[in-house]
């Protein structure tokens, strides 16, 4: 066990030291994107691994990004306060949708369809309020006056962003680990096997599911807000809607749903894939990356449902994993 901690510490130290040694801006940019999306994918997998397949996370991400940016542009609220507010907003949205779902046992297909509609609706709201949000043309947070960058959470420096993204990514892994080691995990696994049996065994089914959903939604909103602050441009298609939700599912399934670093592996693969296609095909690449995503997603679900990292770890261990692919 000790050697594992040492490996983690060494790996982390290397990641922290990286931007001070290696300063190629493009590569750092890709790394920041990978870290932010890894965090979002990890947030999804916290729910997804227990069979709570949500396609509403695009909605939570959109709320995180847009609420933060709107508060800054229209009311001058610093993202330091705006991000927590946006997270609360996403959390409230998650509770409003999830509570009736869980209370009245809307599971499986029904839950997926309801959350799918949620992300569609968030997209519609952003488009409909185009007077404030810029609609489908996208939205840019106002540049902070010079010297106020810290207040506005706007940094031109890639190294700063890299360290922020790294910190958030580690936070995501810690939350994953915390859930993995908590009683909630056993409760949620019982629920995903059989809700009635879990309830009979004394598990508060609704409360446990809500807790996991809330954690996941808050993290996703944070990822959306950070993405907005880093890119300084958001559009309904890049941070909300069904496509983003499906992209999360795709990355997590490709990487591996039941292992902590699975979503990260998924993010590395998807973002590298998108970049390679973009560089290889140039502007002709519009649409191609999603085409490849889609084909890979179908192939992975049919042939490798545990994902790349999950399957590799299984081979290494060859011991049965406690995983219901439900």
């Amino acid at each position: 066990m000790n050697s594992r901690y040492i490996a983690w510490a060494v790996g982390l130290a290397a990641l922290v030291a990286l931007p001070f040694v290696y300063r190629e801006p493009y590569h750092l940019h890709i790394l920041v994107l990978i870290l932010i999306w890894s965090f979002a994918y990890t947030a999804w997998s916290i729910m997804g691994r227990f069979g709570l397949v949500s396609l509403g996370h695009g909605g939570f991400m959109g709320v995180g990004a847009y609420v933060t940016a709107l508060l800054w542009n229209h009311l001058g609220v610093s993202p330091w306060i705006g991000i927590p507010i946006s997270m609360v907003a996403a959390g409230v949205l998650a509770l409003i949708v999830a509570y009736p779902c869980f209370r009245f046992r809307i599971t499986g297909h029904y839950f997926v369809l309801v959350t799918l509609a949620l992300s569609g609706i968030v997209l519609q709201v952003i488009t409909a309020t185009r007077d404030y949000t810029g609609g489908s043309l996208g939205y840019t947070p106002n540049r902070a006056p010079s010297g106020k960058g810290l207040l506005a959470l706007q940094f031109d420096d890639k190294t700063t962003w890299y360290l922020i993204a790294l910190g958030v990514w580690v936070l995501g892994l810690l939350v994953w680990r915390w859930v993995d080691r908590s009683m909630s995990r056993y409760a949620m696994e019982a629920i995903s096997e059989d809700e009635d049996a879990a309830a009979a065994a004394g598990v508060n089914v609704t409360a446990e599911k809500l807790k996991i959903t809330l954690i996941s939604a808050l993290m996703t909103a944070l990822a959306g807000a950070l993405y907005c602050q880093y890119q300084m441009f958001i559009s309904p298609d890049t941070v909300s809607g069904i496509a983003v939700s499906l992209q999360m599912v795709f990355a997590v399934i490709v990487g591996g749903l039941y292992v902590s670093l699975g979503p990260t592996v998924g993010a590395i693969i998807t973002i590298m894939l998108a970049e390679v296609l973009r560089i290889g095909f140039g502007t002709k690449a519009v649409g191609w990356d999603n085409l490849v995503y889609g084909v890979l997603l179908v192939i992975f679900i049919i042939f490798l449902p545990k994902g790349i990292l999950g399957s590799v770890l299984d081979r290494l261990k060859t011991q049965p994993k406690p995983s219901g692919t439900k």
């Binding site: 809307i106 519609q124 999603n290 889609g294 049919i302 449902p305």
Partner: protein, 293 residues
């Protein structure tokens, strides 16, 4: 004030009638989705994208190859029916024994494929048939013929499915499989064949919807997103697999969208429909007309 009220009432009535007309097409979409869910126990997330492909099919046949609308429509329906059968054969069939969520996510992958295929192949321009049907004026109300046509054709399509299911051997077999999968294969019904036929039927309904929607809306690769989510809400509210529930829920939602759109933008109509849906979930969680299991 009196004059204002008069105008208001006429707009209101017009919106109500338009809502009923919209409900026909939504009911058609919900029927296709319900049929597939009821028989194969799979939800096609990419259902609205099949409609989008059908709309492009219509666009190319009518605008590029110059076929008349009435000739192109059957081909478009056949095209989407073939797509539905292919979707089942290639994606769903290998996953029939997998957990249901995996099947659903695989069709999510197909959604990606169809959307980006359309982007790559057809570009992101908005295209339309260029057919302008006249507008019917009753008093001060205006209804476009394309909507009336869509409503009538949707009803005929649904009746055709109803009689197919009730009067033919295959239809009876489909209903039997929907009731009990295991037993029917023991009784000598070829479930594989029934699944393919059902998928093709679901595709055909999407194709019919495509022929009707293309008269009213421009087609672009993401057009599915504008009525896909609402179709899912309708199916859940009506109870997945429940044909009558889906039919009624479609008209309820169409009214909300149409009346909501009267007071504000159409997008707000959708938002209102979603809010209504959330409220309904508190009141009738298993759908409007929950079947007792």
């Amino acid at each position: 004030m009196q004059g204002f009220l008069d105008i208001f009432d006429i707009y209101l009535l017009e919106a109500v009638v338009n809502g009923i007309l919209l409900g026909g097409v939504l009911a058609l979409l919900a029927l296709g989705l319900n049929l597939i869910f009821g028989v194969i126990d799979v939800t096609w997330i990419c259902y609205a994208e099949l409609v989008m492909i059908g709309m492009y099919g219509m666009y190319y046949m009518v605008q590029v190859f110059g076929l008349p609308y009435w000739v192109a429509a059957p081909f478009a329906i056949l095209l989407v029916a073939a797509l539905g059968a292919a979707l089942h054969y290639i994606v769903i069939a290998p996953l029939l024994t997998a957990p249901p969520i995996n099947q659903l996510l695989a069709t999510g992958g197909v959604l990606f494929i169809l959307q980006s295929f359309a982007t790559v192949a057809f570009g992101i321009d908005f295209r339309n048939l260029g057919i302008r049907l006249p507008v019917l004026a009753i008093g001060e109300m205006h209804f476009s013929y394309s909507r009336l046509l869509a409503f009538a054709a949707a009803l005929i399509g649904m009746l055709a499915i109803y009689f197919f299911m009730k009067r033919t051997y295959t239809g009876t077999a489909i209903r039997a499989v929907a009731q009990d999968r295991q037993i029917m294969s023991l009784m000598g019904v070829d479930t594989k064949r029934i699944y393919i036929i059902t998928s093709a039927l679901g595709g055909a309904l999407a194709g019919l919807a495509a022929c009707l929607l293309v008269l009213q809306y421009d087609v672009h690769p993401f057009v599915g997103l504008s009525f896909g989510p609402i179709t899912f809400l309708i199916c859940v509210l009506g109870g997945l697999g429940n044909f009558v529930g889906g039919f009624i829920a479609a008209f309820v939602f169409a009214q909300i969208i149409s009346l909501g759109g009267l007071f504000s933008d159409l997008e707000w109509g959708y938002v209102l429909a979603f809010a209504f849906f959330i409220v309904m979930m508190f009141i009738r969680p298993a759908g409007l007309f929950a079947r007792r299991s």
